[in-house]
């Protein structure tokens, strides 16, 4: 088995052992090339789930010629089982702003936006207060950049970057065709960097630690550490920053309740790993990636209820524009119900599995493409629970 790490707690995101002002002030004096190089060296990949190398994103956007560019903080954390961005915005908002400012410097943006999910509106007043303070710091540092907070209104799909732009433009949050990608055609059609909350904090902290230091953590494919949201059947639910590259077995030893049947890694859009695969499953891009969501299920739980819950979620949160996702989600939901009731034979699950393959290959965006992940991993591993 490839390079694995033992479970190790890390303290980069929330550490109080640093002053964001100092990091920012130093970063604003560094060259853009050095910052990008440091990010590339660090191996940092997006922490929202998709895992695109952050340094590349910044580099591509920096290379675009445009009268206007934007940096956007994606705080539309909606994946079931994820709550780390809320905690980061609550505890270390200045680091988030700082990461945005560094990104703005690198790509040449004068405006930044935080797209805060509607469910987190209670954070808004404090965030705005901190932001006003931050803008004063920017003035002190003589850096021409402003951040505005906009709020979502209850649509999971707006976490998809192009849907988020559409929403910011006052439209339905329907994902766009790609290409073009945000680095060339983002918010208002301008080159845009859009990063997850956590990614921005890491970007700032890499300015302090250096890319090489960050790279020492984690594995080849999954460098550094990550904030995990742990929930479900665990005695210690909460938020943990851990080095990447541990096995699921390692994780369950720490967080399980001794009776863990399966772990859903990556939320409803992620994979369900059954006990028999804990040992050989790495949490990371080489194994099962996650935006942070880790839901633990013990043997008292019905996996039918779990998949049914996810399918209800997808059926409702699909934007509805593309056929495989809109109709596919309805078919999967009603399909598992029909099998459970006995209206359809168990073989019908195979038709549904084929359908998820089509959804994976033909859906317009990540939502429809990822329904197959949880569906196949639950139905394949817990087929008997789908009937009885």
């Amino acid at each position: 088995m490839a390079d694995t790490k033992q479970l190790k707690r890390v303290d980069i995101i929330f550490t109080e052992d640093c002053n964001y002002k100092d990091i920012l002030s130093e970063a604003l004096q560094s060259s853009n090339e050095d910052i990008v190089q440091s990010l590339l060296n660090s191996g940092l990949r997006g922490r929202g789930g998709a895992g695109f190398p952050t340094g590349m994103k910044w580099k591509f956007t920096a290379q675009e010629e445009s009268d206007e560019k934007f940096i956007i903080c994606n705080a539309d954390e909606g994946e079931p089982g994820t709550f780390k961005d809320r905690e980061i915005l609550f505890k270390v908002p200045f680091k988030v702003f700082g990461g945005m400012a560094v990104g703005a410097k690198v790509i040449g943006a004068k405006e930044g936006y935080i797209y805060l999910r509607g469910e987190y509106k209670f954070l808004l007043d404090d965030l705005q207060k901190h932001l006003d303070e931050f803008h004063n710091v920017l003035d002190e540092l003589n850096f021409d950049f402003r951040i505005k907070i906009v709020t979502g209104a209850g649509a999971y799909i707006c976490g998809e970057e192009s849907a988020l732009f559409e929403s910011m433009e006052g439209k339905r949050g329907e994902p766009r065709n790609k290409p073009p990608y945000p680095t060339t055609y983002g918010y208002k059609g301008k080159p845009t960097v859009i990063n997850n909350v956590e990614t921005l904090v890491y970007a700032l902290m890499i300015c302090r630690l250096g890319g090489e230091k960050f790279k020492e953590l984690g594995t080849d494919d999954s460098r550094g550490s990550k904030v995990f949201s742990v929930s479900g059947d665990t005695p210690i639910p909460g938020i943990y920053e851990l080095e990447l590259g541990m096995t699921l077995e390692n994780f369950v030893e720490e967080f399980g309740d001794g009776d863990t049947k399966s772990v859903q890694v990556g939320g409803a859009a992620g994979f369900c790993v059954p006990r028999k695969h804990f040992k050989d499953t790495i949490i990371g891009f080489e194994g099962v990636p996650t935006g942070g969501s880790m839901m633990i299920f013990n043997s008292s739980r019905s996996m039918y209820n779990v998949i049914h819950n996810y399918l209800e979620f997808f059926e409702e949160e699909s934007c509805g524009q593309c056929t495989p996702c809109r109709v596919g989600c309805q078919q999967l939901l009603l399909g598992v119900e029909a099998v459970k009731r006995g209206d359809k034979p168990i073989e019908y699950l195979n038709e549904l599995l084929k359908l998820t393959e089509t959804m994976k290959m033909t859906s317009k965006c990540g939502l429809g493409q990822s329904v197959a992940n949880s569906f196949a991993s639950i139905v394949d591993n817990f087929k008997e629970e789908m009937i009885y």
Binding site: E77, G81, V150, T151, G170, G238, I239, R301
Partner: protein, 155 residues
Amino acid sequence: MSNTQQMVKELVEKHGRERTNLMAILQGVVDQQNHLDDQAIIEIAREMDLSAAQVYGTASFYTFLDIKPRGEYVIRLCRTITCDMKGKREILHTLENLLKVNIGETTPDNKFTLLETNCLGWCHKGPAMLINNKAYTELTPEKVKEIITEIKHKS
């Protein structure tokens, strides 16, 4: 000028007439009157040179931009599996009994609307719910009773 016209006019002046401000304006209306009625949407469309159907279509995409009348307090109970595992159903029954309404309904005095919603981001402290913009976590039937009683007595 009607109240609705006045409200919309102020919001549009505050946020701007370009479509990029539509979300903020729609949210502004919901903040003030709990839902988007046809008059508000017609006014927004007029002010922003959009069609009313476009504004309606946009609003109806977003769960929190209610296009149906809602009570003064909108309760959104998290329906995600992790909250479910921590006793969400019991919380739901408690709310239904206390308010004498089912999911999707509003109390006759227009005080409360009971809804379910997708993940609220409090999975480690489930069951969770939002009442308007405020989050309540680690709910128990007793806690829910206290919360509702307190709101009832507020007015």
